[in-house]
């Protein structure tokens, strides 16, 4: 009997203490944000923990709260970055980007150069911070083996270029891109060609033109159109007869962008191309250049004007 009483008492005590463990203190993201804004480091760390929460709503709210805390969160974010992994790390990296504090550049570049699966977030963040110290690493990342890393590196380089109203950032990017295009080790130049086209600086023209004869022909043709350099017209007109219909479409699109009347005759020939998309894009390009509507023959044999692809 005595033993039974003791055993039951122990169980009771255990269960009561278990009960008290369930009574977690309810803390809202809003409360934590306010505390964090007034300098409470523990609140910042708690918000960072919450980006790893199970529900998307809490994750998103915590993430946005950290961004609104801003510079006060940067040192703590960088500290937490050392220990974090997976999605939490991704959020921390993205938050550092959105806060735009240049103190984080060094760490983000290190992540970009490393093997972390989510290093595309670092590429994204570096574009938001827009510090030219990251340009070389971003240009190198244009040849990363992860397509998302390449894409965000390209987007970030364009952001860095556009963040400066002067030429200083463009000069640095052109220099690094020229090095990149001249390298024999590079496997993928597609994203570099995207960047070259978007920064619209004639100094990169020759490097892009050279790629028309290489593996990245379609993207090089696209970049020439973006550069809007009339020196490309003759080369692009020649590509209107390429055996690959995609190249013929790309050439037509780019000639439309460049707006040179010298391309009109060649484009008019493509109105009777065997491929419907080539005909369609020839008509679009002609409209872009001349301002007049051009008809092309659709798949059913009807003469129609191309629909607009813009809203």
């Amino acid at each position: 009997m005595k033993k039974t009483i003791i055993a039951l008492s122990i169980i009771m005590i255990f269960m009561i203490s278990l009960c008290s463990c369930y009574k977690e203190e309810f803390v809202s993201v809003e409360m934590l944000k306010n505390k964090a804004l007034s300098g409470d480091e523990a609140a910042v760390r708690k918000l960072i923990d919450l980006v790893d929460a199970n529900d998307i709503k809490t994750q998103s709210e915590a993430y946005e709260a950290i961004i609104s805390v801003g510079a006060k969160a940067v040192e703590i974010l960088m500290d937490e970055l050392e220990k974090a992994g997976g999605e939490k790390k991704e959020y921390i990296v993205a938050a550092l980007g959105m806060i735009k504090d240049k103190k984080a550049v060094g760490k983000l570049v290190a992540i970009l150069k490393g093997n972390d699966k989510r290093r595309y977030a670092a590429a994204f963040a570096l574009g938001h911070i827009a510090d030219t110290k990251a340009v070389r690493a971003l240009v190198d990342a244009l040849d990363d083996n992860d397509a998302e890393v390449k894409k965000y590196a390209a987007i970030s380089l364009i952001k860095i270029n556009n963040s400066d109203t002067g030429m200083a950032n463009t000069d640095i990017i052109i220099k690094e891109l020229t090095r990149f295009f001249g390298s024999t080790d590079v496997l993928d130049k597609n994203f570099a060609l995207s960047v070259a086209g978007e920064i619209k600086d004639g100094r990169i023209f020759d490097a892009v033109l050279k790629e028309v004869g290489g593996r990245h022909k379609e993207q090089a043709i696209w970049a020439l159109g973006k550069l809007k350099d009339t020196r490309a017209v003759k080369v692009l007109a020649k590509e209107l007869t390429d055996p690959d219909w995609r190249i013929r479409v790309a050439a037509a699109r780019s000639l439309g962008s460049i707006h040179s009347e010298d391309a009109v005759t060649a484009l008019e020939r493509n109105l009777s191309d065997k491929n419907v998309f080539v005909r369609e894009w020839a008509a679009r390009a002609l409209e872009d250049i001349t301002g007049r509507d051009y008809e092309y023959t659709d798949e059913e044999g009807k003469a129609i004007i191309p629909t607009s692809l813009y809203r």
């Binding site: 009771m12 991704e90 692809l309 809203r311």
Partner: protein, 253 residues
């Protein structure tokens, strides 16, 4: 103290402890307890100003509903708060804009979804596909129209794993804004999709888990691009099927 009294005391204390523990547990809905869950979703694809009819179990599914909700313009989204219970949902849109009457050719109607059990507070997502009635047959307005023009592929997450629960949104313009022209069914565990189109043309596509509006923080989102930063167009001819139109989606920050 007698043995009997001691035993009673211990049993009572035991029961008291058990009661205290149940105070720390998540609330269970029971009879008489006010539980409100929000059921929200969209009527595809998307069907604006449709009506979502909510019936409680036991009601005539063709008769007056418990509540009717109109779907939002442009997005086809709806939301309704419901107490604990068992429900059935159906979406209808009559071209004469009436809320009652027979479904005739030209009207839209979804299958009846249910029984849907609401037992606790929170949110529940419920998307529906409404089909247009054509004579005695149904025509899907969603993207699974069985035409012979289609494209397919796999949606991946940022770890390279197939992503379930996302849809392909198809646009006929570069900006991919406003309402998509077509929307696929949600991907399953293999991340695969196939989307049928009524005709060929030039399309721009993205993958997302939430339907409607610009992507928000926390959403899964990815655009189709062929190794470039611009969204790539899909160009397919009538009767053509394109494969390997793959997209990587990740969380929007």
């Amino acid at each position: 103290m007698t043995k009997k009294r001691l035993s009673c005391f211990i049993i009572t204390a035991f029961l008291a402890a058990a009661l205290l523990i149940s105070c720390g547990q998540p609330t269970q809905s029971g009879k008489g307890e006010a539980v409100n869950a929000t059921v929200k979703g969209a009527v595809m694809a998307p069907l604006e100003k449709a009506l979502v009819y909510v019936y409680k179990a036991g009601m005539d599914l063709r008769g007056p509903p418990l509540v009717t909700i109109e779907t939002a313009e442009l997005t086809g989204e709806f939301a309704v708060d419901l107490p604990a219970g068992t429900y059935f949902f159906v979406a209808r849109k009559r071209v004469n804009d009436e809320s009652i009457g027979l479904i005739v050719p030209g009207d839209y109607k979804s299958n009846t979804i249910g029984p849907v059990e609401i037992t606790k507070s929170g949110e529940m997502i419920l998307d529906m596909t409404a089909r247009r009635k054509i004579g005695d047959t149904k025509e899907n307005i969603a993207s699974d129209v069985k035409s012979n023009t289609s494209f397919s592929g796999t949606i991946y997450d940022s770890d390279g794993a197939p992503l379930a629960g996302v849809r392909i949104h198809v646009y006929d313009h570069i900006q991919m804004s406003e309402r998509p022209k077509f929307v696929s069914d949600k991907t399953g565990p293999d991340g695969r999709y196939r989307l049928y189109l009524p005709e060929g043309g030039t399309y721009y596509i993205c993958a997302r888990d939430r339907f409607g509006g610009p992507p928000k923080v926390g959403d899964m989102y990815g655009r189709y691009d062929q190794g470039t930063i611009d969204q790539s167009a899909i160009m397919l001819k009538n009767g053509e099927h394109l494969t390997d139109i793959d997209i990587t989606a990740h969380k929007v920050w």
